[in-house]
């Protein structure tokens, strides 16, 4: 399974010269990675997976090498010269503290939380809007997710 990509974005080299001629923003493509547990056999796989965890719009579960598990939202990653010097920072699901975990301490990663934006497309809203208006309904709209 592949993860988040920016396939539709222009390449770095062309972006500056093309930016002023852009008619619409290219946007980013996102693959479905909810439920995914990537292979972390090599340092490169670990780094790539943690980049995806940083881009992910839901919680992940990290299993440390001592066997402890922590579930939370990854909001930062600091890339150092080695795995010992690289960290992810996350806000655990069940506490207010912010934790930093060294890449070197991570044994497994899983995208266990719901992708909070998946399936909420503009097109879905447009369909709903026309259906409701055609039916003469009032006060309809997209509702924020429940916090429970």
């Amino acid at each position: 399974m592949s993860g988040t990509t920016s396939a539709d974005r222009p390449t770095q080299g062309n972006a500056a010269s093309n930016a002023d001629t852009l008619e619409v923003a290219p946007g980013a493509a996102r693959a479905q990675i909810e439920g995914w547990a990537p292979e972390l056999a090599t340092p490169d796989e670990l780094r790539a997976a943690l980049d995806q965890a940083f881009d992910y719009r839901g919680d992940v579960t990290i299993t440390r090498k001592d066997g402890t598990k922590i579930e939370g939202f990854v909001f930062d990653r600091r890339k150092g010269a080695s795995l010992e010097q690289s960290f992810v920072k996350l806000m655990p699901k069940d506490s207010d503290e912010k934790l930093a975990i060294a890449y070197a301490d991570i044994a497994a990663l899983a995208f266990t939380g719901r992708d909070t934006a998946a399936g909420k497309s503009w097109e879905a809203w447009v369909r709903k809007y026309w259906e409701k208006r055609a039916a003469g309904e009032k006060g309809f709209g997209l509702q924020p997710d429940s916090l429970e």
């Binding site: 539709d8 974005r9 222009p10 390449t11 770095q12 080299g13 972006a15 500056a16 930016a19 002023d20 001629t21 852009l22 008619e23 619409v24 923003a25 290219p26 946007g27 980013a28 493509a29 881009d55 719009r57 919680d59 939370g72 939202f73 909001f75 930062d76 990653r77 600091r78 920072k89 806000m91 699901k93 207010d96 912010k98 939380g113 719901r114 909070t116 934006a117 998946a118 399936g119 909420k120 497309s121 503009w122 809203w125 447009v126 809007y129 026309w130 208006r133 055609a134 003469g136 009032k138 006060g139 309809f140 709209g141 997209l142 509702q143 924020p144 997710d145 429940s146 916090l147 429970e148």
Partner: protein, 379 residues
């Protein structure tokens, strides 16, 4: 005049002070996000895509005050999420007013009428109400039918009670310039102090990635909207920034101009991009690799950006940093009609969005279809 003289004086003396000290990078507006929770679910918003435990968190008033003091900017914008959902928003505002910060409380105004008694009018406090255009356009844009009417009730109540009120409007691909101009007339008639405008930004984390203006289209749209201005339109923005949107000026991004603080810390590098967080404001300013951001950097995530959070600080810096910028600002302040026959012609052309979607046309078609169906049913 969109911005009161006392506020202009505060900002001018602050910017000139930094220039005299030879500081290259300094913040102009702190973007303080005390929560990510919102009572709307706009498809184009990239600020609310978090799990519930994150959405439930709030910055405390003390955390807000520490950030404001650490940053030192003379203006504080409070977006979110919806700041009126914060249980202590009145205490946050009160503390910032006591610190003589010019506050723009950015709200969708769904709760404004209900919560307005929590606040006292002050020259330091402005309700900056998110309204994306005329009724149908706004409701469509924020994915909530009836949202416009609720927001307008809040705006009218705040104006009646003597608060400073501005509107802030985000425009997307498919925006109808004639409708936007009619919207300006409506807002000025209601009595808002001024209006703010910005093109939308295609947030990486937003569900909708398809309806955001590129730079070429942004300039054409804003030129059509802001040329041939009516004399009574007032904008609460740098006039040079508006000229930038119209394609009359070019600026490099100033990503440090409007730094962002929220429950994760100081967001790197700017209000729109999330490339990690610094623990202190000093770390943000010193450790961020600024050369990697801004359209001119070639960073693809910056390619479509012409947003105020990156470019209005550039315009303000131009006003106080060069004679041509200062003269341009004076000229734009006192002679702001921008007569332009080509822009006038653009207003007569049909709206042609790249994705073939024109909200008003579709809405009108849907309404006529509904009316026809009803007539057929009755017949």
């Amino acid at each position: 005049m969109g911005v009161p003289v006392s506020q202009m004086w505060t900002v001018a003396s602050y910017v000139i002070g930094h220039k005299i000290k030879g500081r290259k990078r300094y913040p102009l507006v702190l973007m303080l996000e005390p929560l990510f929770r919102c009572n709307l679910a706009c498809a184009g918003c990239g600020k609310i895509q978090y799990p519930a435990h994150v959405l439930k968190k709030n910055l405390s008033p003390e955390e807000c005050f520490r950030a404001v003091e650490e940053c030192g900017a003379p203006m504080v914008s409070i977006p979110g999420g919806e700041p009126l959902m914060h249980p202590q928003i009145d205490k946050i505002v009160e503390g910032l007013v006591a610190r003589k910060k010019y506050i723009y409380l950015c709200t969708n105004a769904l709760l404004l009428k209900e919560k307005i008694a929590l606040f006292k009018p002050s020259k330091y406090l402005t309700f900056s109400v998110h309204v994306d255009g005329q009724r149908e356009h706004h409701d469509f844009s924020v994915c909530r039918e009836g949202g416009f009417d609720q927001a307008l009730e809040g705006v009218k109540e705040a104006v009646k009670r003597g608060f400073r009120v501005t509107t802030n409007t985000t425009l997307f691909d498919g925006a109808d310039p004639n409708s936007v101009r009619a919207f300006f007339d409506e807002m000025m008639e209601i009595g808002v102090e001024g209006m703010m405008l910005s093109p939308g930004y295609s947030y990486d984390k937003a569900p909708d990635q398809q309806h955001f203006l590129g730079r070429a289209r942004t300039r054409r749209l804003f030129s059509a909207i802001l040329s041939n201005r009516k004399a009574n339109w007032v904008f609460n923005q740098s006039p040079l920034f508006l000229e930038f949107l119209m394609g009359k000026r070019t600026y490099a991004c100033t990503p440090w101009g409007m730094p962002t603080y929220n429950i994760f810390g100081w967001q790197k590098p700017c209000y729109l991009l999330q490339d990690g967080y610094a623990e202190t404001f000093a770390e943000l300013m010193e450790a961020t690799e600024w050369q990697n951001y801004g359209t001119e950097s070639g960073n693809p995530k910056c390619a479509n950006c012409m947003v105020h959070s990156g470019y209005e600080a550039s315009a303000v810096n131009d006003t106080f940093g060069s004679l041509s910028g200062f003269i341009g600002t004076v000229r734009a302040t006192f002679s702001n009609r921008y007569e332009d026959a080509t822009a006038l012609e653009t207003l007569r052309e049909p709206v042609r969005p790249v994705h073939g979607f024109v909200p008003m046309e579709q809405i009108q078609n849907a309404a006529s279809h509904h009316a026809t169906s009803q007539q057929e049913t009755r017949a």
